[in-house]
């Protein structure tokens, strides 16, 4: 049976277990004078039965579904005769797709070596066996669990305590998923990054000034020697991010000041949600806008004033990214400006300062650390932003600071390297993970610093 069908089936079993245990608990309570003589309400006995029915079964199901494909692949590859046995991971994945294509009938067995056809048959049988075993095992565990809980429906057992303890554990596991996710991220990028640095020296990666991840397929190929220097990518990322911040910081900050200090209530109630709409627009939409509207416009405009602009200029991506970040900056600075105590504002105004003088000389300095924190957070957003640059920035890794030129970014390269076919033993694919690692570390650092700055500043006035 399919995993997708087994899941609802287990849940149905759990519901059945619930009702059985519920009536059982009432039956048990009958001779001793009603349910008030039970340690817990019938609901808790029933809930306990369905937990016992569902949780172990679902855990087994998840584990089985998670490891099934990998284990079967290993057995199939292991069954190949020695002359067909793959010598590299890339070869193995090729063979596997050939085998599974034969097994599913998309590829005719006539064109494949005998060993592969046998492997395909093995794959078919293993898959079928695995399905049967899994179905039987999961259902058995579900029924066993429910029966165990059934025997535990007794007046002296406090089912409520047990149910609450289980729930608490479930809640804890859910909270710990955040840690698991972080670990998963670190694990996934570190493993591949490590393999990457076994082939390309770390120092070359960090200090290299040329990036062209194309590796030679044959030894005699000309000009296809991979170069993995990250500096052009980082300059490109920084260039676009700086342009974005140059747009977003003044606009966002001044909007926040205007909306919180000057605007009437009516203007604010209209303008603020509209500003937030900018934050809700998906990045692919900004990418579309940047690539098809802003970039051609900039190129034509530059030609008009006698400059040459690339059709995928850093300026276009940066400008549009700036628009995307405006609401981010404005809502963060709005928060910090509002956190400055009213007394400071009143004091300044009472001394005869105008509103703008109060803003510039009293509130802004007081709010500066918070605003800086906000800008750092925005910078980390800009560095990690993907779709706008994938669509509007180019692929050429130029080491330049000319905003009219094409540059490429870390995120663009990750996407280009990983979309399509991958070989997990070539530095070309692995370099994407090294870039991901770099991106993760940089954005993490920026966030940690920013959060610290913001928090420290907030404590000052509380």
């Amino acid at each position: 049976m399919q995993t997708a069908n087994l899941l609802p089936l287990v849940l149905v079993l759990a519901v059945v277990a619930y009702f059985l245990a519920h009536s059982r608990s009432r039956a048990v309570a009958e001779p001793i004078g009603g349910i008030r003589n039970l340690k817990s309400l019938p609901f808790y006995y029933a809930a306990r039965a369905s937990l016992w029915c569902a949780i172990p079964a679902l855990l087994v199901l998840a584990a089985w579904a998670g490891f099934e494909a990998k284990v079967i692949q290993m057995i199939v590859i292991g069954s190949l005769p020695p002359e067909l046995a793959p010598d590299s991971a890339g070869r193995a994945s090729l063979l596997l797709s050939q085998i599974s294509n034969i097994a599913s009938g998309r590829l005719s067995p006539e064109f494949a070596p005998e060993g592969v056809v046998a492997a395909a048959e093995l794959l078919e049988t293993l898959r079928a066996q695995s399905k049967t075993f899994m179905t039987i095992l999961v259902l058995l565990i579900a029924v066993l669990g429910a029966s165990f809980a059934w025997t535990r429906v007794a007046p002296h057992i406090n089912a409520r305590e047990k149910v609450e303890k289980t729930l608490l554990r479930i809640f804890f596991v859910c909270a710990a998923i955040a840690i698991l996710t972080t670990l998963g991220i670190v694990f996934s990028v570190i493993m591949e990054t490590f393999r990457f640095f076994q082939q390309i020296p770390f120092w070359d990666f960090i200090t290299g000034t040329s990036w062209s991840p194309q590796m030679a397929l044959r030894a005699d190929q000309v000009g296809a020697e991979g170069a993995f220097g990250v500096i052009p990518l980082f300059t490109g990322t920084l260039l676009i991010s700086v342009i974005a911040l140059l747009v977003a910081v003044p606009t966002g900050l001044l909007s926040a000041i205007y909306l919180s200090e000057y605007a009437s209530k009516r203007v604010r109630s209209v303008a603020k949600p509209l500003l937030e709409m900018l934050a809700g627009v998906p990045t692919v939409v900004y990418g579309f806008f940047a690539a098809l509207t802003v970039a051609p416009f900039i190129r034509e405009f530059a030609e008009m004033i006698g400059l040459t602009a690339s059709s995928q200029s850093a300026l276009a991506a940066g400008l549009v990214m700036g628009i995307m970040i405006i609401p981010f900056i404005s809502s963060l600075s709005d928060d910090v400006i509002n956190a400055v105590p009213q007394t400071m504002r009143d004091g300044s105004l009472a001394l005869g300062a105008t509103q703008s003088e109060t803003m510039k000389k009293v509130i802004f300095p007081a709010a500066l650390p918070g605003i800086m924190g906000g800008i750092l957070l925005a910078a980390s957003r800009a560095i990690g932003e993907t779709m706008i640059v994938v669509m509007a920035a180019g692929l050429a890794a130029n080491l330049t600071v000319n905003p009219l030129d094409t540059v490429t970014t870390v995120t663009v390269q990750i996407v280009t390297l990983l979309v399509g076919d991958q070989e997990f033993d070539s530095p070309k694919t692995l370099s994407a993970f090294a870039l991901g690692m770099l991106l993760f570390v940089v954005t993490l650092l920026l966030n940690v610093i920013a959060l610290k700055v913001v928090r420290k500043y907030r404590e000052q006035y509380d």
């Binding site: 998670g66 490891f67 099934e68 990998k70 692949q73 609450e164 479930i170 809640f171 804890f172 859910c174 909270a175 710990a176 998923i177 955040a178 840690i179 694990f187 996934s188 990028v189 493993m191 591949e192 001044l254 909007s255 000041i257 205007y258 909306l259 000057y262 605007a263 303008a271 509209l274 500003l275 900018l278 809700g280 627009v281 998906p282 692919v284 939409v285 990418g287 579309f288 806008f289 098809l292 509207t293 051609p296 628009i323 105008t354 509103q355 703008s356 003088e357 510039k360 980390s380 990690g384 994938v390 996407v415 990983l418 979309v419 993970f433 991901g436 993760f440 993490l444 966030n447 940690v448």
Partner: protein, 425 residues
């Protein structure tokens, strides 16, 4: 006295300048707000301007004689014959009847280009389904070819290049005047999957893919997020481990989305051997990505339930878990739902991580389950936007309009829920 008066004089004299500065500062503020809102207006206007034509299709309606001889076909039920038959012949003949001056073979070939390349497939499918129609005359509506569609819809737009010859343009004008070529509401866009031909491409596949992915995301992220929030707000002991969890959640909220794609690729696909391009994996990745948002908003919702409620429930003997599940959770639910809807809107608009787990493939069929290859709305928009064929640009914009409609209604629903259900204590 004189000293004070002169100071007052200084102040008075500088007053004009200071007020000017004040005005200027205010003007900067107005300018900043107008820049931001102007960008929003330009963005929307640009997309609507580029995309409204995506909702229009160009059709050619012809009286077609399904003549067996000209198609080299006498038994439409025979697959071998169907494979060899020339189904475009009746279309050319019908077009020629409309434009009697076309006689040469070369011109006829040009004429055939007016009808989309799927036109002959339409006739083949019709004959396969109803073999008795062979050698009868039928009124059929075909989709016009991409070039004709661009000419009809965008002949006055300089950013489109017209790829019809003078002769073909003349024919199209004639057929337009006769009412043979018409523009209609593009129902194809809503009822089919992707295609290599812009006029045959639709968004249904991506919509269904998005729906399946979001179902997985919601089914994972909502219960887990709420449970985590309950644990952290109500049960977690004050210790290093709890702090560590909180630090992790805050950091995950700020990790670039593409990193989650790397996680999905390395862990879910490579380590666990799950298939690529399927909604389950996409939903899983997006769930991990939206979890922090849901946890943070759920915690805020739990926090806003006043302690008096908890104390009252505890006072009549409820256990801690009963207090939480029977009293705190129902009261916090509106806030949690609002946060989850906003998280789902985020997930719906997300593209980058899905590119890495292979949901970027060209998929014609509408996905029919959680384990069938699929793409999602934003990725479909990305695919169309980066396609070389100019007819796809308007489809991408039209897709954006649909995506934005969904996002705006989800956010409106969240605001409405908050207004409707939230209680102030």
């Amino acid at each position: 006295m004189t000293d004070q008066r002169s100071q007052a004089d200084i102040v008075r004299r500088s007053l004009k300048k200071r007020y000017r500065k004040e005005k200027r500062f205010r003007a900067y503020g107005v300018l900043a707000v107008s820049i931001a809102l102007g960008a929003l207006v330009i963005l929307f206007a640009d997309i609507i301007g580029k995309g409204w034509t995506g909702f229009i299709k160009t059709t050619i309606t012809l009286e077609v004689m399904l003549d067996g001889d000209s198609m080299y076909l006498d038994d439409p039920t025979d697959a071998d014959q169907r494979a060899m038959a020339d189904f475009s012949a009746p279309i050319i003949a019908a077009l020629q009847k409309q434009l009697p001056e076309v006689l040469e073979a070369g011109e006829l070939r040009q004429l055939n280009r007016l009808v989309g390349s799927y036109g002959s497939n339409d006739i083949r499918d019709l004959l396969r389904a109803q073999p008795e129609l062979l050698n009868t005359s039928q009124t059929l509506t075909f989709l016009a070819s991409d070039a004709v569609s661009v000419y009809v819809k965008h002949s006055d737009n300089p950013s489109y290049s017209i790829r019809l010859s003078e002769q073909q343009q003349h024919w199209v004008d004639q057929l337009l005047a006769k009412g043979v070529i018409e523009t209609k509401f593009n129902n194809v866009f809503f009822t089919s999957g992707d295609s290599r031909e812009p006029s045959n491409a639709g968004i249904l596949g991506a919509l269904v893919g998005s729906l399946l992915t979001l179902i997985v995301t919601l089914a994972i992220a909502f219960p887990v997020g709420v449970a985590a929030a309950i644990y952290l707000e109500e049960f977690a002991p004050q210790n290093k481990f709890t702090d560590f969890i909180e630090v992790n959640i805050n950091n995950l909220a700020a990790v670039p989305s593409i990193i989650f794609g790397l996680l999905g690729l390395a862990v879910i696909i490579n380590t666990f051997g799950m298939p690529r391009s399927v909604p389950v994996v996409g939903g899983l990745v997006l769930a991990l990505m939206t979890l922090p948002t849901i946890i943070i908003s759920s915690r805020a919702a739990i926090k806003s339930v006043p302690p008096s409620i908890r104390e009252a429930a505890e006072g009549i003997g409820a256990s801690k878990m009963q207090v939480v599940l029977h009293h705190v959770l129902p009261l916090a639910m509106p806030g949690m739902l609002t946060g989850s809807i906003i998280g789902m809107a985020q997930a719906l608009g997300e593209t980058a991580p899905l590119l890495l787990i292979g949901m970027v493939a060209f998929i014609v069929d509408v996905p029919d389950g959680f384990f069938s290859a699929a793409t999602v709305l934003p990725v479909q928009i990305y695919l169309w936007a980066s396609s070389a064929e100019q007819g796809f640009i308007e489809l991408a914009s039209a897709g954006i309009m649909i995506l934005l409609t969904f996002l705006i209604s989800m956010n409106a629903l969240a605001i409405w829920l908050r207004k409707r259900l939230e209680r102030r204590w």
